[in-house]
């Protein structure tokens, strides 16, 4: 679109907007009926469109969070971890991290009965959070 045609379009839209905003409710109904339209149906459609626009605007942060979540999960799944490979070493490392009193937030229901898989996934997350000691990435 050229600059001139863009300006012309803006003027037309401004004129339509002014025409609508200055018209009375009855004038608008009359215009719609003169065009063979149903005022109630038009009102419903306009409300629906405006409602959708309003909702999209209100939920911009939600959409951003949904997109951010998808990206973060993908990044976490692709991340290479540096935890010991043996279950015994992993269990010992988790016990050490817990005992070290790291500034962590944690809710474990049953630490003594965690499976090897539970411990491995917990260590991967602790690693991503930067809570594993630097020299614990090697197999012991």
């Amino acid at each position: 679109m050229t600059k001139d045609s863009g300006t012309r379009l803006d003027r037309i839209l401004d004129a339509i907007e002014q025409s609508i905003t200055t018209a009375t409710n009855q004038e608008l109904r009359d215009d719609i009926q003169a065009e063979g339209g149903d005022p109630a149906g038009v009102e419903h459609n306009v409300r629906s469109v405006l409602g959708g626009v309003l909702r999209d605007h209100r939920q911009e942060k939600l959409r951003a969070a949904q997109a951010g979540y998808r990206d973060a999960v993908a990044r976490f799944q692709e991340r290479s971890t540096r935890i010991p490979s043996g279950p015994a070493a992993q269990r010992a490392l988790l016990a050490r991290v817990v005992a070290s009193g790291s500034q962590m937030t944690a809710q474990f229901r049953d630490l003594d009965h965690l499976s090897s898989e539970d411990i491995a996934s917990a260590l991967q997350q602790l690693d991503a959070l930067g809570l594993l000691p630097d020299n614990d990435g090697e197999d012991e």
Partner: protein
């Protein structure tokens, strides 16, 4: 309350969520710095691990979606209320530090319930609705929550006086009364054979909301009628909503209980 805390209502408002279908817990948690991961957990249903303002909430991928949602809400409650605290609950020993006197588990459950069944969305949908398990079930489908937690919310916020009761083979396991049910109303420890729950525990089929003698549930209340809706929810347990359709009758019942 520290700076990071946001109430369930605040979270929903911040994200422009006003409809149950938009309560996207993964996105809500992400907005709070917590990444939800679904994994095979064997030692627990859910786990929270965090450092600073970042955390992982891991939920058991094998659990049903409603259970997963509650678990995420529960751990998010811990993330809001108990940040910086660690709880490792073991069979031999409990490692607990930085807890105050309020039960963290109860507080996290409340947070989850308020996030999954927000009052602002729940109240308009329960107004003048029948206090039955069908109502609770419809709402549970809408909010993607468990029947039990939704039934409790229904009797708390519904328009009519009612109670929720869980009955097992050895009697009543727990009961929760709505705000309009007087504390003088005491249920029997075991229901009588006049109750629907009694029949269901012996293999009967659920008939839906049924008027039964109030005496089946309350000592000395044989002259009154109560609406009972019972449904088997586990192999052993029956969930019941007792609904006093006639509030005058409930008042009279309260008075007669006071007299005895």
């Amino acid at each position: 309350m520290t700076g990071h805390y946001r109430s369930p209502e605040r979270l929903l408002a911040d994200l422009g969520i006003a409809d149950p279908a938009d309560i996207d817990l993964d996105a809500i948690a992400f907005d709070c710095g917590a990444l939800v991961v679904r994994d095979t957990l064997r030692g627990c249903e859910a786990r929270l691990l965090g450092a600073g303002s970042q955390a992982f909430i891991t939920v058991n991928a094998a659990a049903n979606p409603r259970r997963q949602r509650f678990s995420i809400g529960h751990e998010l409650g811990h993330w809001m209320h108990d940040r910086g605290a660690a709880s490792f609950r073991c069979t031999k020993r409990d490692f607990i530090r930085n807890w105050d006197q309020v039960s963290p588990e109860q507080r996290a459950n409340r947070y989850a319930a308020d996030l999954l069944l927000p009052k602002s969305m729940f109240l308009p949908r329960v107004r003048q609705q029948p206090m039955t398990l069908t109502t609770a079930s419809d709402l549970a489908d809408l909010f993607v929550t468990s029947l039990t937690s939704t039934a409790i919310h229904l009797i708390e916020y519904g328009s009519f006086p009612a109670m929720v009761v869980l009955v097992g083979p050895n009697g009543i396991r727990w009961r929760k009364r709505g705000p309009d049910v007087p504390p003088q109303i005491w249920l029997r420890e075991r229901t009588t054979s006049d109750s629907v729950a009694f029949d269901l525990l012996r293999g009967g089929t659920a008939p839906g909301p049924t008027d039964v003698s109030a005496g089946a549930w309350i000592e000395g209340a044989d002259r009154f009628v109560i609406c009972e809706d019972s449904r088997r929810v586990t192999e052993e347990d029956v969930l019941t909503i007792l609904w006093w359709k006639d509030e005058a009758q409930l008042l009279a019942l309260g008075e007669s209980s006071e007299d005895t």
